[in-house]
């Protein structure tokens, strides 16, 4: 009886340890990628970190079905992407654009040039938001360098060719709109 209990104890502890190790490994491996995915949508570090946290909570909830997940990376990115889009409906990412654009301006530039550069970057972000939803999503997801086109297609549930076409159209449209804006300005 004692040996059986001991055996089951060891097995359960091993199982729990393995799950803890797995979870820690998942966090270590994918947290930065998931952060970038969420940040590309939300453009806020705090909000992106919350999204990553939520992703791993979901993983914890579906801990028993983790073995059935074929591609962990794509699965996690899809969760993070959907959660970021959900959060985007609650907050307005435009409110973070000013601070984000200023953070991108080089600090060694003179004030007037820094202001002009910040305005330009803000215009890019603004036009990015005005893009059609499918084009914007493909463009934002393409920001994450580690994702291949097939993975992007799987996350967005589109074909690879559609993803490529949408990406091309998004970039072209964004460039044209920015040039038009510069021409008007």
């Amino acid at each position: 009886m004692a040996s059986v209990e001991g055996c089951s104890l060891a097995l359960s502890s091993m199982e729990s340890v393995r799950s803890e190790i797995d979870l820690a490994a998942l966090v270590e491996t994918y947290s930065s990628l998931l952060f970038r995915v969420a940040h590309s949508v939300l453009r806020s570090r705090a909000e992106a970190e919350d999204v990553v946290q939520d992703v791993f909570v979901r993983v914890l909830e579906h801990r028993r079905s983790l073995a059935t997940v074929r591609e962990m990376r794509v699965w996690l990115v899809r969760i993070a992407w959907n959660l970021a889009l959900d959060r985007r409906r609650q907050i307005r990412p435009e409110q973070f654009d000013e601070g984000f654009a200023e953070s991108l301006v080089a600090r060694n530039l003179p004030a007037d040039e820094a202001l002009h550069e910040a305005q330009r970057l803000r215009a890019v972000l603004r036009e990015l938001e005005r893009l059609p939803r499918a084009e914007r999503e493909v463009l934002l997801l393409s920001v994450v360098d580690e994702l291949e086109t097939s993975e992007m297609a799987e996350v967005l549930r589109r074909s690879e060719s559609a993803v490529r076409a949408l990406l091309f159209r998004a970039r072209t449209r964004l460039r044209e709109r920015l040039e038009k804006g510069e021409g008007k300005g």
Partner: protein
């Protein structure tokens, strides 16, 4: 064009190179641990003492506690039948102790220093008393056993519906009140029964009026020859008519004429209008009237 392309690239590059805040992984893991602890604590761990549900012990204590719980259930399952058995024994044990104690008492009394009769009698009485108590307790134990067996038999017996309760006096009276002459009324609804009853009544009627007709038969000519009563009721005339019908052979003409003359009651009121219609004129006719008048009454009774 170059400016816009540069701006786009710069923005996308900045999004691409965004670095996670320092310590984000640690914070995520801590948050997950807290969440897991809260979730498991909200389930069944609130029943355990704090030292058992400490985060460090959760892994090791869980299976151990499971084993303890399973063992406890096993022990309880083993102990319950034993306790049940013990619950029955105290009566026997008490009885045995009583039986054992009484001779000892008697012996000690007998072996005492002062052996007087009174004490001996009292001891004997007490021994008898104890014996009767023993017998009584044995009887009660037997009764208990019998009761148990009866209860067990009742428990194992197939269930059957309870017998109907007897009616109270009031209910019986009510029933009698409600169902008064019910069979007769029901029988009246049946056309066959009604026809049978009618025929019985008819035969009874005929039998009733036929019996006195035979002794009257020789007297009838006398009454006919004598002064006939000017006004005879149909009831009085009926026996005479039946007597004439049965006494004399039926003439072919009378039976046929009867329907024609079977409305004297309707014609009688018309007679006063005729001046010749006197009782004297109508005197020779009574025989015909007697023959004719009963018919409606009989038919009326038949109906």
């Amino acid at each position: 064009m170059k400016n816009s392309e540069e701006a786009i690239e710069k923005v996308l590059a900045s999004l691409r190179d965004a670095e996670a805040p320092a310590g984000m992984e640690r914070r995520i893991l801590d948050g997950l641990e807290e969440r897991e602890a809260a979730r498991s604590g909200s389930g069944w761990r609130w029943m355990w003492p704090v030292w058992l549900v400490a985060p460090g012990r959760s892994v090791a204590v869980g299976p151990w506690m499971c084993g303890v719980v399973v063992g406890g259930i096993f022990v309880v399952a083993l102990a319950v039948p034993g306790l049940r058995r013990l619950g029955h024994t105290p009566v026997q044990v008490r009885r045995n102790s009583a039986t054992v104690g009484s001779p000892a008492l008697a012996d000690s009394g007998a072996g005492g220093k002062s052996v007087d009769h009174a004490w001996l009698r009292s001891s004997v009485r007490s021994a008898e008393k104890i014996k009767t108590e023993e017998e009584r307790s044995a009887e009660s134990a037997a009764a208990v056993v019998d009761g148990d067996s009866a209860a067990l038999d009742d428990m194992h017996a197939a269930s059957r519906p309870a017998p109907p309760m007897p009616l109270t006096e009031q209910e019986r009276l009510l029933l009698r009140l409600v169902h008064k002459d019910a069979p007769v009324e029901l029988a009246m609804l049946d056309s066959k029964m009604r026809a049978l009853q009618d025929s019985e009544e008819k035969t009874e009627f005929q039998r009733f009026f036929a019996q006195p007709a035979k002794p009257i038969q020789p007297e009838q000519p006398v009454t006919e020859q004598g002064a006939p009563p000017p006004s005879t009721t149909t009831e009085e005339a009926a026996p005479g008519q039946s007597a004439t019908e049965q006494a004399m052979p039926a003439e072919p003409g009378t039976d046929q004429a009867a329907p024609e003359q079977s409305v004297p009651e309707q014609a009688v009121p018309e007679q006063p209008t005729q001046p010749q219609a006197t009782p004297e004129h109508s005197a020779p006719d009574p025989s015909t009237a007697q023959q004719a008048t009963p018919r409606p009454t009989r038919t009326g009774e038949d109906e």
